[in-house]
């Protein structure tokens, strides 16, 4: 009788996974640097990457302060967004009839153009934290809500039958089966929405705020400091990457079974 566990032999790839993307980035930067000097492009139109880097470094304290402001709004807004999506999804899971009633509203909320709603939010709620948090919720709650609703609904009926035969209550069905069953779908949607969160925050700041990378971007663009605009863009990309990594880390800690056996212990 076989008692061997399935262990994949392929564990060598883990150390160099970042190399291809690093090489791609280096090649693109080299082409950009060369193009700027060969064609003599003015820095206000397109600064060389070296200039973006040195100027970004020179203005780093300013950039960092604003990045920190953006990060804190993003995290608060995204936390609130998760609260909203979990509340909606759990409510719909326990009252499936609500799905038809609520879904059109949720979809409609996603058709409102940000350029329209952002200034309105500022008009209604001022320059404080609230309009920015609301905007981040609006931009990010939909993918996670949908991911959760579909995840709960994807629970196999055969497993539900098993729990029913063991006299599990509705709450036990949810806690022991539907909640863990929804995790793969939830974490996929989480990785999507957390990257939207940064963009949502920047947009809210851009529309009207006193600090943050969105404000910084508007300021530098108006004074034709394209190099600092690009430095801020890099900052935004780094923030998004960090948050994406945070989502992946959360998945590893909270729901390791959703990962392939190979990836479970890799960082």
């Amino acid at each position: 009788m076989t008692t061997s566990a399935n262990q994949s032999p392929n564990t060598t790839k883990s150390h160099w996974w970042w190399l291809p993307s690093a090489i791609t980035v280096i090649i693109l930067i080299a082409i950009w640097e060369a193009a700027v000097s060969i064609f003599g492009i003015r820095p206000s139109v397109l600064p060389a990457p070296s200039r973006v880097f040195t100027q970004g470094l020179a203005h780093f304290p300013d950039l960092a302060t604003n990045a920190l402001a953006t990060l804190s709004v993003t995290l608060i807004g995204f936390g609130a967004s998760l609260l909203v999506s979990w509340t909606i999804a759990i409510t719909i899971d326990f009252h499936p009839r609500l799905r038809q009633a609520v879904m059109p509203l949720l979809v409609a909320s996603q058709t409102i153009p940000l350029v329209v709603i952002a200034p309105l939010m500022i008009l209604w709620f001022g320059f404080g934290l609230l309009p920015k948090v609301l905007l981040v919720i609006l931009v990010t709650f939909f993918p996670t809500t949908l991911g959760l609703i579909e995840g709960f609904a994807a629970t196999p009926s055969t497993k539900t039958d098993l729990l029913t035969s063991l006299d599990a209550t509705a709450w036990q069905q949810f806690r022991l089966l539907r909640l863990p069953s929804a995790m793969p779908s939830f974490f996929t949607s989480l990785r999507i929405s957390i990257t939207y969160a940064v963009v949502g925050t920047i947009f809210a700041e851009y529309a009207g705020s006193s600090s943050g990378l969105g404000v910084y971007l508007a300021l530098q663009r108006n004074s034709f400091r394209t190099d600092l605009v690009l430095a801020a863009v890099i900052m935004i990309a780094l923030l998004s990457l960090a948050l994406f990594g945070l989502a992946a880390l959360a998945q590893r800690l909270i729901a390791p079974w959703t990962l392939k056996l190979d990836d479970r212990h890799r960082l």
Partner: protein, 214 residues
């Protein structure tokens, strides 16, 4: 032998479809292994689902002395987020029994179930045969008096299935388990059961109910 379950004139049909079961009556006694044999679609899985409380029916099921059944579906239905021991303790967690005690009981049975050293493994780290044994451990630890096994090893290859059937027969008799098992395989039914009940094609009717005689 005392009767644990009496089925009397059991009928079933899915809404808008022809009847699945027609006047099925038989008894299951304590410590007995009963196989229900029949062609595909004769309603034998439905019979187990009725006894597991998953399907409405007409007729009567007498449960002598509050007898409860443990449903063991065709596929192992292990939860991928629970280890072998946690899966085995599922029923106890639902019933609100002491967690530590059930886990210790599960750990004590690992060796007998061929799962020694795998208590803390997750289902995707197990072979097909081990998954079936882990599922069976879950059924056994549900502390219910009658186990309802729906073609438990049907997903495995013939050789492994024969191995597991032999093991199941021996283990069940050693512990005195009461099993009602469904299969479409005559040899499996003869090999494992004390009694074989043969159902007709749909709607399932009892054609024959006799001991295997060994």
């Amino acid at each position: 032998m005392t009767a644990l379950l009496s089925l009397q004139q059991l009928q079933h049909h899915y809404p808008g479809a022809a009847p699945t079961l027609d006047s099925v009556s038989f008894e299951v006694s304590s410590g007995e292994i009963v196989a229900v044999l029949g062609p595909s679609g004769c309603g034998k899985s439905t019979l187990l689902r009725i006894l597991a409380g998953l399907e409405p029916y007409s007729g009567q099921i007498v449960r002598h002395g509050e007898v409860k059944t443990a449903y063991h579906p065709q596929t192992d239905e292990l939860f991928s987020w629970r280890t072998v021991i946690e899966n085995a303790a599922l029923a106890a967690d639902i019933a609100g029994h002491d967690r530590g005690q059930t886990r210790r009981r599960a750990a004590d049975l690992l060796d007998e179930f061929g799962l020694a050293g795998f208590g803390d493994h997750y289902p995707d780290q197990l072979s097909g045969g081990m998954r079936q044994r882990a599922a069976l451990l879950r059924t056994v630890l549900s502390d219910r008096q009658v186990f309802l096994l729906d073609e438990p090893f049907s997903s495995l290859d013939a050789e492994l299935r024969a191995d597991l059937n032999r093991w199941l027969g021996q283990t069940a008799r050693r512990h005195g388990w009461t099993i009602l098992l469904v299969t479409h395989d005559v040899n499996e039914a003869r090999q494992l059961a004390d009694r074989v009940i043969t159902l007709s094609a749909r709607p399932g009717r009892v054609l024959n109910d006799e001991p295997t005689g060994d």
